[in-house]
Amino acid sequence: MSTLTPEQWQSLSPYLDQALAMTADERAAWLASLGEQNPALAAQLAVLLDEHRVLAQEGFLERGPAALPSAPGLAGQTLGPYTLLSQIGQGGMGSVWLAERSDGRFERRVAVKFLNVALLGRGGEERFKREGSILGRLAHPNIAELADAGVSLSGQPYLVLEYVEGDPIDQYCDQRMLDVQARIRLFLDVTAAVAHAHANLIVHRDLKPSNVLVRTDGQVKLLDFGIAKLLEGDGEGGAATLLTLEAGRAMTPQYAAPEQLTGEAATTATDVYALGVLLYVLLTGQHPAGSGPHTPADLVKAIVDTEPTRPSDAVTSAKANAEVTTSNAARRTATPEKLRRLLRGDLDTIVAKALKKNPQERYASVTALADDLARYLRHEPISARPDIFAYRAAKFVRRNRTAVVLAALALVALIAGLTGTLIQARAARQQRDLAFRERDRASRITDFMTNMFKVSDPSEARGNSITARAILDKSSQQIDTSLAKDPEARAHMMYVMGEVYDSLGLVPQGKSLIARAAELQREVLGPEDPETLTSMSLMSVILLEEGHYAEAEQLQRQTLTVRNRVLGPEHPDTVRSMSRLAAVLTFQGRNEEAVKLERDAVAIDRRVLGPEHPETLLLTNSLVSYLWMGGEPEHYPEAEKLQREALAIERRVFGPEHPDTLNAMFNLATILRREGQYAESEKIFRETLSVESHVLGPEHSDTLNTRNSLAVLLTQQGRYNEAEELYLENRAIQRRVLGPANAYTADSTYNLACLAAIQGYRDKAMALLGEVVGHGLKPNTALHMEEDDDLKSLRRDPRFAALVAHAKKQAAAAQRPN
């Protein structure tokens, strides 16, 4: 980079004056037209203006240098039982000293904070002592303890505080490159501390990163609780706030709430606002008022008047410098685009609600804010949202859909498990009923849920989150009375709600509603009405789920016959009956029949609905599964071919990052693995893993599942070290996200044990198994350890026998009613 000569600078200076007086848009146009006349000049100016963007982002020269010297010679002086050691900071409010107890009672370092006498206001000393004793009772692990408060002999008030060594929370997060989830979890510790103080009627009033420290051990500590209050005169809240602002020259109003700047009283809502700003900064790396430069007046205007940019927009904002956006995102282990996607939606909404200008519109309490963040982390619907109902429905279906997709993945894993026999196989076996649920139901549930939420009373739902289950239970109770006069609609509602119950895994509730719906429809509409047939068809699926195969088959055949006659052989409903019948046949081990029937169904849908129709794709998936199920190698090429076609269509129609596309990739890789085409299988698994890590995040269950499958592939090839690394990676994530005793975490350990056993490391395998049997491993897995071929090297080991016996005893004990 070259420096400008004085001459260059002087010739550019007047143009800079012009440019800096313009808005960004005006500037762009002006530069463009200048470029036509004098390209060299325009280019130089553009460079300087870019420089300006960078320095504004950096906040260059926005913080002043350290203050002037304060009085020397306090070191060594005593203050009650404390000896001052050295000054560790100073600022507008006063100075801070490191001190230790000198009366030898216990060894402990403290921070002594002297407050500026001038700031204390009228009748200060008395009030200071009184308030100090209240603050002293504020005991919380995340609040720096106030040990003492007093006034020195020379009349200077001081506080004795727990000495905290740590970094401001924003720096802590950046230095450790914490991702969004980890940042939120840390932030929840902050909210816990603030909520505790609020419960004790203490408002912080000055929450900002430098008051929220994180120790190296990760413990959050809030400083200066209520100190702003100490500086405030009785009954002169507004004036005192201004005084505080003015007195602390370095204290910018960056974290002040609008009401603080307009001189209204600070309340718990003020802290909610400041927490909102803090959360904004932690998530985006920017201040809600946007990137600098800010004069105090601009900042005040931004805080009082301007709606902040949504966090998701802020992280990719075109106004922001690309380098800064990228590095901000990188500090959150994301790309700007990924960060935007993470923040968009719930986090935008939560932050916006905390930052409402009107205190009444903010979260009613810090706890309410924390609850929403916790819900976000659990992928549950949050409470904040104006159009709450459609939103909830969408969220519900999204979650439900994930379950359905997972089930489909599990099915494939099951098939793989026929030879691979690692843990996923067993998990899949348990879930196979789920796997056979058609995914098209998800979209129908969407319609229903949307409507159901829409008819709910908004006033009833506001404030606390209602679950889909609660709505279902309530609606199903009301169904007889509210739709008494319309048996047809009543039957329809019963059907739809039964379907939702069923897809939530609440099969008995679903079954009884579907049975009642079918009965009512037969009565009102007749036995051959399409609606009656729809209920019958679903009843057959439920019977299948319950394991009543013969009944399920009989009912579905009956439905198919009538549909054939009433709707015609090519009607989608008729085809669906064929497909459902095929599922029943598979479960009875009649796989060849299922394959033939499903092939016919797919052929009709392809012709009638087209190859890109979701229904066709769905049935194709089922067909691929059946081609697998029998374990007949002569079917594999057909399965591979169909899966490749489906993948191509999904890539084109849904795009490369869509869950269905990823699912198809996963399936194809699994098929290839089965066919022994390891190289291509590995390539596709790795591609899937990379897209999933990027799109769904490294902690998503699909991502973990794919990594697991890749490990299975590597195990099959004898690449044990690589496989082990992947299992360990998964387990580390699961331990962190799900906890050490979680069933999935235990699965990974079990897989590691299998891997060790395969290699003949029996001690290691036993140690790993010992870790999880009875500590998270699903009883069903534990009970079938003996039969697991991967563990066969352990079969003659007495320790293994003992462990199996132990697992059996535990399972038996669990089954006995207490």
Partner: protein, 188 residues
Amino acid sequence: MESRIAALIGAAEGGDSAAAEALFGTLYSELHRMAKRELARQGAAISLSATTLLHEAYLDMAGRDGPSFPDRARFMGYAARVMRGLIIDHARERHAQKRGGLFEITSLDTQSMEAAVDHRELVQISEALDELGKVEPSLAELVDLKFFCGFTFTEIAVLRDVSERTVQRNWEKARIYLHRKIRADLSL
């Protein structure tokens, strides 16, 4: 010292480098003395605002020097530059204490840590500022007032009798120059 400051400013502006040195020396010791006096007066552990100090210094010195004392804006310009040196010296001292001292500085204090800028950075800024002073002195003076002495845009606008917008625009210009200069120095 009858209007000594006024005489020194006059000579310094006339190109007398010895006078300029004497001017800064006088201002430095004067400000330093006042800072100590303020600390003694206000009691222990109170930090001083540079702005307050400059205002008081002006009142104090103008009162002593009489009517020929230079106008406030001119005085502040020089004094702010002196203050820069005072602050950097102080930061250096603190740095030395810190390294030799018993403890690692923590971010316990709220404002001072936000405010603290590493003394090496200050030296860098100061050097770039000296360069800027040769090219566009009024911009350099603005940085002394704003960054080192904590004057607000409003105060500077009043002092210089210009609009606040102008002050802000000049501030951005100065920042561009300094930022560019410092980056260029770093990339050497």
